[in-house]
């Protein structure tokens, strides 16, 4: 780590023109991230072609800005309208939305921003200092390890199941079954496509997400028509309170580490990082029964993880030329447009570019903090708009969002269909988050399991013999066991509470 070069690169980045581009990126990223249906990946992808004529630092600075801003922006809509603006914010809604409904939207938003900022800086620093080492480790991941990682991720489903583990598992299994729709990844056999071309690649992810979370919530809202009590809530804070910070600093630290780590694994992105750290925060908390009702750690964990993941995902991109997640895969294209080849050679021949990227990422996070602080007041106000106006408008945005991905109406019908499914599931106590996790991890688990079998000629034992793989599986088992123990604890505490209330 060349400190002199590090400081020089800040000199390069903190120029008015570069700062402007990063600022545009961050602001655009927050906006795009907060609109359900537009993901950070999409935002970056849409703007990459425009960077063709731009100088390297400006173009990468802007794109990194979108990346960071997008990871924070998703939390805004998660908290305010229970719809993740990007998949990485899907875990944030579990505690964020209840907080918003309790009139604590400013508390939730300020923590989301702070956690995103802290996680982002952490990830960026890890990226700057540890790129080569971390990527060596991440490269050891082969198919058996990916399969075990997917299993570990799926075991997190139990911890986010809410009241009923059985229903949580059923939701997860339902999601896994949904994930099998489409062309089989290895043999290409069409499964459950019913002849629909649009289903060949499986149920389109974003429309399904929007349908399950947004549209179902709209149906529920129209059915109940409960107005948010006009608690005279002013924006009391831009920054999390001291007590909130005290409660969540450890969670933020742990989640940042988890997020950076998962980001460094090629193919594992912010969504997985957010859920895993949420599960871990709940598992290790002294009051797990409060998770899901609006507890501050429930926002701190996923938001710091998904922003830290951005830094982590840059690690394999820069040092190996292998993207760490979907956004970095698009960034790879941006590099190539600039005539640069990410990988070991980049460090040798364009070390200044690498260091400029380090500085840009740190700067982007700082700018994100500023822009976010300015916006907290504005965003919290949105939730007080009369539901009768808000719900239809959100419905339209959701529909446009699902249409925007592939420009076809089938996806919009898909959204409506999943809206109904989500509505019914929610009414009858089935959690929706496991479906999301299953849609991401199911295909990963299946294709890597089958690839492992291809490599070993049909012998799966390798999954248990390779160290990283067995470590992940042990973690999965541990996570399942501790979550079940926690569930019992939670149920006991709730039973005691009701007993105490009856006595009174």
């Amino acid at each position: 780590m060349d400190f002199q070069l590090f400081f020089t690169s800040f000199g390069n980045v903190l120029q008015p023109d570069v700062l402007l581009f990063i600022l545009i990126g961050v602001t655009g990223g927050i906006l795009i991230g907060s609109l359900p249906g537009l993901t950070a990946t999409m935002g970056v992808a849409l703007l990459v072609p425009f960077t063709f004529g731009l100088e390297v630092t400006r173009s990468l600075g802007m794109l990194i800005g979108i990346f960071c801003g997008g990871m924070y922006g998703g939390s805004i809509s998660s908290i305010l309208i229970r719809t993740p603006g990007t998949p990485a914010a899907a875990a944030t809604l579990i505690d964020g939305y209840p907080m918003g409904q309790n009139g604590e939207a400013d508390r939730a938003l300020s923590m989301a921003l702070f956690a995103s900022f802290t996680g982002g800086i952490f990830g960026a620093l890890m990226m700057s200092f540890l790129s080569p080492q971390l990527s060596k480790f991440a490269l050891k991941f082969g198919s058996p390890e990916y399969f075990s990682l997917a299993i570990f991720g799926l075991s997190v489903i139990i911890s986010i199941s809410g009241k009923s583990i059985v229903k949580g598992i059923m939701s997860g299994l339902f999601g896994l079954l949904l994930a099998t729709v489409g062309f089989d990844p290895i043999s290409g056999y069409p499964r459950y496509t019913f002849g629909f071309v649009e289903l060949f690649e499986g149920p389109a992810f974003i429309p399904t997400l929007i349908g399950l979370f947004a549209v179902s919530e709209i149906f529920l809202g129209i059915e109940k028509l409960v107005e948010i009590k006009k608690i005279d809530f002013k924006i009391k804070r831009l920054f999390p309170s001291l007590s909130d910070l005290k409660a969540s600093w450890l969670v933020i630290l742990k989640s940042s580490i988890i997020g950076t780590f998962i980001g460094a694994i090629p193919g594992a992105g912010g969504d997985i990082a957010a859920f895993v750290s949420y599960g871990e925060a709940k598992r290790s908390s002294k009051h797990p029964e409060k998770f899901g009702k609006g507890v501050i750690e429930g926002i701190a964990a996923p938001e710091s993880a998904n922003n830290a993941c951005s830094g982590g995902a840059m690690i394999p991109l820069l040092s190996l030329g292998v993207p760490g997640d979907a956004v970095t895969a698009v960034l790879l294209g941006a590099f190539i447009i600039q005539g640069l080849q990410p990988g070991p050679l980049l460090y040798k021949e364009h070390l200044d570019v690498v260091y400029n990227i380090f500085a840009a990422m740190i700067t982007a996070n700082i700018l994100m903090l500023f822009v976010g602080l300015l916006g907290v007041g504005l965003f919290s106000r949105i939730i007080t708009i009369n539901k009768k106006i808000l719900l239809p408008v959100i419905l339209i945005l959701s529909l446009v969002g699902s249409y925007a991905m592939r420009n076809n109406l089938f996806d919009v019908f898909l959204t409506a269909g999943f809206g109904v499914i989500g509505y019914i599931m929610q009414r009858y106590g089935f959690p929706l988050s496991p479906i999301l996790l299953a849609l991401i991890l199911g295909p990963m688990a299946e294709s890597h399991l089958r690839r492992t079998l291809v490599i070993t000629g049909g012998n799966p034992i390798i999954i248990l013999t390779r160290p990283i793989s067995i470590a992940m599986l042990i973690l999965a088992v541990l996570s399942l066991v501790t979550s079940m123990i926690n569930q019992r604890k939670i149920e006991k505490r709730l039973a005691e509470k009701t007993k105490n209330e009856e006595v009174k």
């Binding site: 009241k163 009923s164 129209i222 106006i389 239809p392 419905l395 109904v420 089958r450 079998l453 049909g458």
Partner: protein
């Protein structure tokens, strides 16, 4: 309040059986041992097991721990949701014909009236405003083409 859980479990069983019976018809893969049918079959069997567990839990437990809102077709809230679903389907079907702007304005007005919102001026302003705003943001700023419908005749560019 036991019935909803039993019905959910029954649906689960139905889905699992469907998947089980269709996945065994998928071609086998002798080279790679696991064919396209393996995963769905495995998942469906697990799904079946857990659906049965759910039913057993319901039958064997004395107190029902969960409270569900009644689903009655007479409840005005339910009627509203059903009408909304219908309106949504009609909206999507008409989208290529009416174009985004007109169709959206109609849907927004309809839904706000459905929820008995009385401030008609705000209904008008919001629906027109939002439709145009969304249209321009997505079309102009983000280069995403939304259905134009028959207004295309007037906007040939």
């Amino acid at each position: 309040m036991k019935k909803p859980n039993i019905i959910s479990a029954a649906v689960g069983i139905a889905i699992s059986l469907y998947v089980i019976f269709t996945s065994i018809t998928f071609p086998e893969d002798h080279v790679m041992k696991i064919g396209p049918g393996f995963f769905p079959l495995l998942l469906a069997i697990l799904f079946l097991i857990f659906s049965i567990i759910l039913i057993l839990k319901e039958i064997l437990s004395k107190k029902s721990k969960e409270e569900f809102d009644k689903f009655s077709f007479k409840d005005p809230g339910i009627i509203r949701s059903l009408i909304t679903l219908g309106a949504l389907i009609v909206y999507i079907i008409l989208l290529p014909y009416l174009g985004f702007i007109i169709d959206t304005i109609i849907l927004l007005v309809f839904l706000m009236l459905l929820m008995k919102y009385k401030k008609y001026l705000i209904i008008g302003v919001t629906s027109v405003g939002v439709s145009f705003a969304v249209f321009f943001i997505f079309e102009k700023l983000l280069n995403i083409t939304l259905p134009m419908g028959f207004i295309e005749i007037f906007f040939n560019y």
